[in-house]
């Protein structure tokens, strides 16, 4: 019982250490979702709207990559960014940027795969009308992405959920350095193993609260938009 009370106390009093950790977690995961969307939405739309050899294989690979193990991605990014790795000269290992890179790799396939499915379904519906209106390839992509925007929010949320919840990749490439690369999930893993349960529980509560809050905001935006667009 004392454990729960002190965790709540930290949350309610806005403990500065806790606040820094929460802030970094959000910055890293939201940046990763942003970059992953910039990569994943065009890739998904491209695969949805073009026919090329190996397309089926690309779809299966993309779907499979939704389940990439975070620790494996973390290891790959670690090797790439380590001093002797191909990108070692960037000096990014054990920085928040490295964590963003790792999470972007984890999230992009999710957004691309869900975008592909969403856009393809809408394309089946719109194909005749857009052909009759003589809409060119670029116009088609923009029309479909725009008209599917509320469904694509779900893809972004799935990506954010993945990024916010994972610990395996960022603990490897970030190093869980106090005050620099420590996030909610890495801190929970560390504090739990150290036995500092109040901080771990406090962080856990904040993490769940934030995930619910962001999903609620996105849901509200989606509902409002659908009411307008039908």
């Amino acid at each position: 019982m004392t454990v729960d009370v002190s965790a709540l106390h930290m949350v309610l009093t806005g403990d500065p250490g806790l606040f820094a950790i929460v802030r970094l977690s959000l910055v890293v995961s939201l940046s990763a979702v942003l970059f992953a969307a910039l990569i994943g939405v065009p890739i998904g739309a491209f695969i949805a709207l073009t026919r090329f050899p190996g397309r089926e294989g690309a779809i299966v690979t993309l779907n499979a990559m939704m389940g990439l193990p975070p620790v494996v991605v973390g290891l790959a990014v670690f090797l790439a960014l380590s001093r002797s790795g191909p990108l070692g000269s960037w000096g990014l290992l054990f920085t928040p940027q490295a964590m963003v890179i790792a999470q972007t790799i984890l999230v992009a396939p999710i957004i691309a795969a869900l975008t592909r499915q969403t856009i393809e379904d809408l394309w089946v519906e719109y194909r005749d009308e857009l052909a009759a209106m003589n809409v060119g390839p670029a116009g088609r992509v923009m029309t479909l992405v725009w008209d599917a925007r509320f469904s694509l929010v779900t893809a972004l949320l799935a990506g954010f959920g993945r990024a916010a919840a994972e610990v395996g990749a960022i603990i490897i490439v970030g190093g869980n350095i106090d005050g620099f690369t420590r996030t909610m999930t890495t801190a929970i893993a560390l504090e739990t193993s150290k036995g500092d349960l109040p901080l771990a529980i406090g962080l856990g509560m904040v993490l769940i609260f934030i995930v619910i809050l962001i999903n609620a905001l996105a849901w509200g935006a989606r509902r409002a938009g659908e009411r307008y667009a039908g």
């Binding site: 052909a131 809409v135 307008y228």
Partner: protein
């Protein structure tokens, strides 16, 4: 922006279309010229929709050829089609029309005024901000018609535009079609409704099992049908 050349006369020359192994259209020769509406009649599956799509240029023909104003290829700048089940874009009613105007190359500044005119024309004034997908079936057909007219078409193809509508909604569509036709747009409409064909047609083309059975002025067709199929169709017998 807009081609000044005409798509008319639109000619189908010995057109055959296969879907897999199935012959959907067989040896169809038909010329569509400016003037009163041409109504394609025939039972379901007779090839009306396929003929419209081929004439619109949406599907390739297997045999024969289609020419628009004597040309073998013509972008659908001055043609528009109203599908049997039109798809509403996930936008407001007004945005659906403005999208079609944009696709037709109408400059941005002119789109709002033109969209408002088109909505009035189809009886949807005041619907601008309504989500298109929440409209009733009849309203959706009228919006789709406004969208088709946004292309300022020379030829307008209509695929059973009133098939699932009640009499009031049907009358609304037919009145608009008559109005459009009077303005000089060539209307080519498919229907399996004999009454509708009588009300609108300037000329009739009867299709049956992918064949063009008869083609001629409507008055002549109804007064003195030349084929057994036409006699059956006019008599209201089931033509299968």
């Amino acid at each position: 922006m807009r081609a000044l050349v005409s798509d008319l006369p639109l000619m189908l020359v010995e057109v055959g279309i296969l879907a897999g192994e199935v012959t959907v259209l067989d040896d169809i020769s038909l010329t569509l010229s400016p003037g009163a509406p041409t109504v394609l009649i025939g039972p379901n599956g007779s090839g009306k929709t396929t003929l419209l799509r081929a004439a619109m240029g949406l599907i390739p023909v297997t045999r024969g050829r289609v020419t628009w104003g004597g040309r073998d290829a013509s972008p659908p700048d001055r043609r528009a089609i109203l599908f049997q089940r039109p798809v509403m874009l996930r936008r407001s009613t007004g945005d659906n029309v403005r999208y079609a105007l944009a696709a037709a190359g109408v400059p941005r500044t002119a789109r709002y005024d033109r969209a408002a005119e088109l909505l009035v024309l189809v009886g949807l004034e005041g619907f601008d901000q309504r989500p298109a997908r929440r409209l009733s079936g009849g309203e959706q057909q009228r919006l789709a018609l406004a969208r088709a007219l946004a292309r300022d078409p020379e030829v307008l193809f209509l695929d059973e535009p009133t098939a699932s509508l009640d009499p009031a909604a049907t009358k609304a569509i037919e009145d608009i079609v008559r109005d459009i036709s009077a303005r000089g747009v060539k209307v080519v409409m498919a229907t399996h409704d004999l009454g509708e064909a009588k009300r609108l047609a300037g000329e009739i083309a009867l299709l049956h099992r992918g064949h063009l059975i008869e083609h001629g002025p409507a008055a002549e067709f109804f007064a003195a049908p030349r084929s057994e199929e036409a006699r059956k169709f006019i008599a209201g017998e089931l033509l299968v």
